[in-house]
Symmetry: C2
Subunit: 356 residues, 2 copies
């Protein structure tokens, strides 16, 4: 596989280049005076294949933690780039998952009034989802993702071999987002994926196929609504609840797994309120539960979840903006829901049943 997907953006088009031999020859990463920002685990695990990167004078190794994704911790990284004499025409090259991507994309938006950046996604979540779509998100202290920009990379070098070393939980996390994207594409697309679910973990070719398919589904929406003012919002399916779950567990549940749990919760609530048939919930529950099973016993308090939900910038005390499956076709849509007693009860019932 060595094809390309071309994405249109407000900065022109950029390519996702599928290159399964990247680890044999990384020459292409050195174009245009690179400054590397690389995940510490990736640097350790690929110290032979990426030796030329790791020994490059302008490399910065970063631990992929949420704390390091805060503006406070990004400042010393910028200072390092300045000390390394980063110039306007140079290129930042991110090698890692969503955290390294967010840090690099944000710096590329703000250093020297904008630099070019390229991305080597090394997690499934980054390969199948976050690598396209232009977004960066940076934390401010404990406030997650409050800062950010829209700034697509110049190119994405995608090699699925990186996934060999990924933790099982991070594979599940990436699959969580793949499930979400395919649910957006429609009932049939989701059901086809659900039928193949187990092979995602055993057959790399199948997983690769679904990475490509997730990116192509997402492409359509980000090209229509890059700045997330309208239709792209539906990609937050599972995210209102997912973010609340992450927050209520102090990020104990990986992002994509929280999203799968959040989708299941959204489906339960939509079914319970008659917005979609009970069949929607049942149809999707099996595969979603499989995806989040190892975190089902995470002790999520209803109160903590409700507090986190209310912090979502879209919500008020009485009115929630949610992305839910609507109608018999379970079309993923943005709807407003009254935060009534019934809603609280539904959340509580769902959380209590989680662990059963």
């Amino acid at each position: 596989m060595s094809d390309e997907l071309i994405i249109q953006s407000h900065k022109g088009s950029y390519a996702v280049n599928f290159n399964e031999s990247l680890l044999d020859d990384v020459t292409e990463l050195f174009e245009n005076t690179p400054h590397f920002l690389i995940d510490a685990n990736v640097a350790r695990l690929y110290k032979i294949e990426l030796a030329s990167v790791i020994n490059h004078p302008k490399v910065i190794v970063i631990e992929a933690t949420e704390e390091n994704k805060s503006i406070e911790r990004v400042i010393p990284v910028i200072a390092r780039l300045v000390a390394n004499k980063a110039r306007r025409g140079d290129t930042l090259v991110a090698i890692g998952g969503g955290i390294i991507q967010d840090i690099t994309c944000f710096i590329a938006s703000t250093l020297l009034r904008g630099m070019a950046w390229r991305f080597v996604p090394t997690t499934l979540l980054a390969q199948a989802d976050s690598c396209i779509g232009s977004k960066s998100s940076i934390n401010l202290g404990a406030t997650k993702n409050i800062l950010g920009t829209f700034n697509p990379p110049e190119k994405i070098h995608l090699c699925s071999k990186f996934l060999d070393t990924l933790d099982q939980k991070d594979i599940y996390s990436g699959v969580g987002e793949i499930l979400k994207v395919h649910a957006i594409a429609g009932k049939e697309t989701f059901d086809l994926l659900a039928a193949t679910y187990d092979q995602l973990f055993t057959d790399r070719a199948v997983l690769r196929r679904y990475i490509g398919s997730a990116l192509r589904i997402k492409q359509k929406y980000i090209e229509l609504d890059e700045f997330d003012r309208g239709i792209r919002n539906i990609f937050n399916y599972g995210h209102s609840f997912g973010h609340a779950i992450e927050s209520a567990t102090n990020f104990g549940v990986p992002h994509g797994i929280a999203v799968a749990m959040g989708m299941d919760m959204a489906n339960a609530i939509a079914s319970g309120r008659g917005l979609t048939s009970i069949e929607t919930y049942q149809r999707m529950h099996g595969v979603l539960k499989k995806n989040y099973a190892s975190y089902a016993s995470a002790n999520i308090q209803t109160d903590a979840l409700m507090t986190a939900l209310m912090k979502d910038k879209k919500n008020t005390a009485t009115q929630l903006v949610l992305i839910l499956p609507i109608g018999n076709d379970a079309e993923i849509q943005r709807v407003e829901v009254v935060a009534d007693e019934q809603f609280g009860d539904q959340c509580e019932v769902f959380l209590k049943a989680l662990n059963k």
Copy 2:
């Protein structure tokens, strides 16, 4: 005067609205859920006229210092906005000079992946120059203006009455930039301004006329080259030397005054190297010297100046990129100059003669 200048930008067009009655009625500043960022001196001096702003629950008062324009000091301002529940659809309203502008514009670029902002420029430099052109510049520790974005405001509310309370040095500083802009427009335009120079300080109507004319000259270039990749570079005339002067004096010389001194120095060097006639230097020297006279005794060391010049991102140890007057018409152009011994000598001679 209550007309408008419409500027085209990558985010659509925006207006400079000349409104001499702004201080009588500030209602228009309250459109679209404002969060105010206001210069502490302006808040103090205009506490009656701006009472409704100063008493607004979402106001942040900022001392206009270079330290406060650093990313380190911008973080708590962002935290305040978050605590004040800033939402995507809200508007940041900057009231102050270039420092408040830079802080607000940068935050508007990065908070919530982008917010709208409007600007009430209260210094001459901001009114006649920086308010248009989209740029923000933020310091990182002691590294000046290393961070930044291109992000035009939605609207500029320009009222020259604010200039009544401005320090004399800040009037001179703004006039320095006005001189620069008119030099770019050509010999005749500059000479006309030079002939009227003294009236800028005594006749508000004349000054207002030159604010408008400076903005219209700058408009042409920023519309052609908003992102400063080509022709807009010539607006750095006087700035390579100017920045070095600011840095060598630890910002003891106000920006626009350092620019006027830098223009005089650029002219001297261009004349000395035969790039323009000696007449260019002589023709402009009188008015430039008048503009920077009160800082002519600032003790600027050649060494410190050369070090600062070399730090400029465009320069190397042997080659300098400078904006100089070229030919008999003194057309302002970008040229490369060898950093030879002659160059060092010329700088030394200029600095030694400054105080004469």
